[in-house]
């Protein structure tokens, strides 16, 4: 009952004119970001983060989250119409969405995908409402050892569950954590890793590095790919009333699958090592595996559009749950939002629920509202959104580059951040080309200071004995799971070796 009261208050916040205006603006920007191949959701949110100081935090978070939802919806359009994924999480939609479009059913594919997104967000938001408060209350019991253990657990999911090569994931994570160590030491006040550079004393800021890596780096990748991707047949589409009806019917026919994909997507999204992209592939794979007609997949099966999209959007929502209640971002985009929270002077976790109920419940209520509004915008706006793709590359790219540099500069108003954006843009390009995962780096950049502080506090509590992490009941289990996840690739390697040995012997 208490929850319903809170939720009502949240809707009160979300329905304020300023919140509504910023939400619609965020959704439109997010949709544009989702459609544009050169600009991803993470960079999109990071770019606009500096501007959010102009509005109250509860409006700012609604705005930034709306960009994320917009990007989650918008990736659909290019995947279905052009077979070009606007976002990584919409790749799975090409398998069946594009064949459907070629059969002249693009309107149906789009409307089914949009409604599936909506179902995904609503299912996820319902779990969010039920789980956020208990999870935050559970976190009340946490002291520094537990906080460190849960952060370690977050990093371990990248190694154990992520798709990247484990050594590369570890290098990425360590690199991100080391970057946060630059500057004045939090405990002793000594300058460290600054090598005499005055501008390094205040440390590297998260925003320019993220904008560089996810913005400039992506632009370079995109520019290079221009000479590789052949432009496939462009299909024009409009979603009519008939498509909407049929889309609804399709969702209804596959309702259990849609809800199941959303549930699965949510739990995949909560884990930091996995996000909307693996969720959408998993959703597609599961739907295909348990389908009565697996042979229809890949040739324009509508359920092949519904399942991955519901899973992806649910995962996006899920990634915010641990961010709000524990301070652990479930995805790189959630990491940017978490950086925003710190910037606005808010502290995630149980205190946020008691001290800033307006903020938390406004965000939760906005999940429902943005999902609905975005569905409407998508249904009527497909032709306009598809037209964004026709903005010539030679004008779009300089616009994004200018936005990236201005966005990083206005964060702290120092020129050092311009250099950061440039250098980390290049670094991001090279790392991405060599398949170093960037998500753990982004999460490490946000959590780095906190992880180190909790680690050192715990050690001081234990008087230098690292067993302090294993003496306490909650942190013990977090540590054990984290260590198992870190060791997981080694198990796999040993298993593969044993198998290969057996094969050789036989």
């Amino acid at each position: 009952m208490e929850t319903i009261g809170h939720l009502m208050m949240g809707f009160g916040v979300a329905f304020q004119p300023l919140s509504l205006l910023m939400m619609v603006l965020g959704l439109l920007l997010g949709l544009a970001v989702g459609v544009l191949p050169g600009l991803g959701g993470t960079a999109g949110v990071a770019l606009l983060l500096p501007l959010t100081v102009l509005v109250p935090p509860e409006v700012a978070i609604i705005f930034l989250a709306a960009i994320y939802w917009g990007a989650l919806y918008g990736g659909v359009i290019t995947s279905v119409l052009f077979a070009i994924p606007g976002e990584p999480w919409s790749v799975a939609l090409i398998f069946d969405g594009y064949p459907m479009a070629k059969q002249g059913k693009s309107g149906l594919a789009l409307s089914a995908a949009f409604i599936a997104s909506f179902v995904g967000i609503v299912v996820a938001a319902l779990i969010f409402v039920a789980a956020a408060m208990p999870l935050a209350l559970f976190a009340l019991k946490f002291g520094p050892p537990e906080m460190f253990a849960i952060m370690l657990l977050a990093f371990s999911t990248f190694v154990g569950l992520g798709t990247g090569q484990p050594s590369k994931t570890l290098v990425s994570t360590a690199f991100g954590l080391l970057l946060t160590a630059v500057g004045l030491d939090l405990v002793t006040g000594q300058p460290r890793l600054t090598f005499g550079q005055i501008s390094w004393l205040s440390g590297y800021h998260f925003v320019p590095i993220t904008i560089g890596m996810f913005g400039i780096g992506e632009i370079m990748i995109d520019g290079e790919d221009r000479f590789n991707t052949e432009i496939k047949e462009v299909i024009h589409a409009k979603v009519g009333i008939k498509d909407m009806k049929e889309g609804l019917k399709a969702i209804w026919a596959f309702f259990p699958q849609t809800v199941l994909a959303s549930l699965m997507g949510f739990f995949v999204g909560v884990l930091p090592g996995t996000g909307a992209t693996p969720a959408s592939f998993l959703g597609y794979g599961l739907a295909k595996q348990y389908s009565k007609h697996p042979e229809r997949y890949g040739h324009g099966a509508i359920e092949g559009v519904i399942a991955p999209q519901a899973a992806a959007n649910s995962a996006g929502t899920g990634s915010l749950l641990p961010m709000v209640s524990l301070g652990i971002p479930g995805s790189p985009t959630a990491a940017v939002l978490l950086a925003g929270l710190y910037m606005w002077g808010l502290w995630p976790g149980p205190r946020l629920f008691t001290e800033q109920p307006v903020f938390v419940w406004g965000l939760i209520a906005s999940l429902f509202l943005s999902g609905t509004v975005c569905l409407i915008i998508c249904m009527v706006g497909v032709p306009a959104l598809a037209a964004i793709m026709r903005v010539p590359w030679g004008m779009l790219t300089p616009t994004i580059i200018i936005a990236c540099f201005i966005g990083s500069f206005v964060m702290r108003n120092i020129m050092f951040d311009v250099w950061c954006t440039l250098i980390f843009g290049w670094i991001g390009y090279v790392m991405k080309k060599l398949k170093y995962p960037l998500a753990p780096l982004a999460v490490a950049l946000v959590l780095g200071d906190m992880t180190e502080r909790f680690f050192r506090q715990s050690l001081i509590m234990g008087d230098g004995n690292p067993m302090v992490f294993f003496d306490r009941p909650i942190s013990k289990w977090f540590m054990i799971v984290a260590i198992l996840l870190f060791a997981f690739p080694v198990f796999q390697l040993v298993k593969a070796k044993v198998k290969a040995g057996k094969a050789q012997a036989a």
Partner: protein
């Protein structure tokens, strides 16, 4: 790709070694009555990074060179990525030394003409529109001041 893997792994190794060297200065042990020294966490992180990048270097070195295993997609793609990298460099250098407006006025026409291959009309239209949008959006609308040139600081020029 093999060379790229090895070079990047080697660079990460160098970064780790620099951090480790710095940690010897800071101290990475346990200070009685105080707790961990400032270099403790970076030291072990750098050690981890050194180990992993050395392993990656070994993997790259052991790997055989294959066809279609190049770092860049193709020659044209490489040139394009290089041109974009150069353009970002130009933009940031001008921003730092002459402000955002000079940077936009120089960067935009070069990009749109050289990489975008648009007509001169499009070049001029784009440059004017983007500059005015940034000015009215950021400085007039949101009241966020952007960096300007030293000439502006001396009151000699409008940007």
């Amino acid at each position: 790709m093999r060379k790229g893997e090895m070079i990047v792994a080697a660079l990460f190794m160098v970064v780790s070694l620099i951090v480790i060297w710095e940690c010897f200065r800071l101290g990475f042990g346990w200070e009685p009555q105080q707790g961990p020294q400032a270099g403790m966490v970076p030291f072990y992180l750098a050690l981890l990074m050194l180990g992993c990048s050395a392993f990656l270097f070994y993997l790259g070195w052991r790997r055989e060179k294959k066809e279609d295993d190049n770092f860049f997609i193709n020659k044209e793609g490489m040139m394009e990525a290089g041109r974009i990298a150069l353009m970002t460099l130009i933009f940031s250098v001008i921003v730092v030394y002459a402000g955002v407006y000079f940077a936009m006025l120089i960067f935009s026409p070069i990009f749109v003409r050289w990489l975008g291959k648009h007509s001169w009309t499009a070049v001029i239209a784009f440059t004017v529109i983007i500059t005015l949008t940034v000015y009215f959006g950021m400085e007039v609308g949101l009241k966020i001041p952007l960096p300007r040139s030293p000439l502006y600081m001396q009151g000699k020029f409008i940007i």
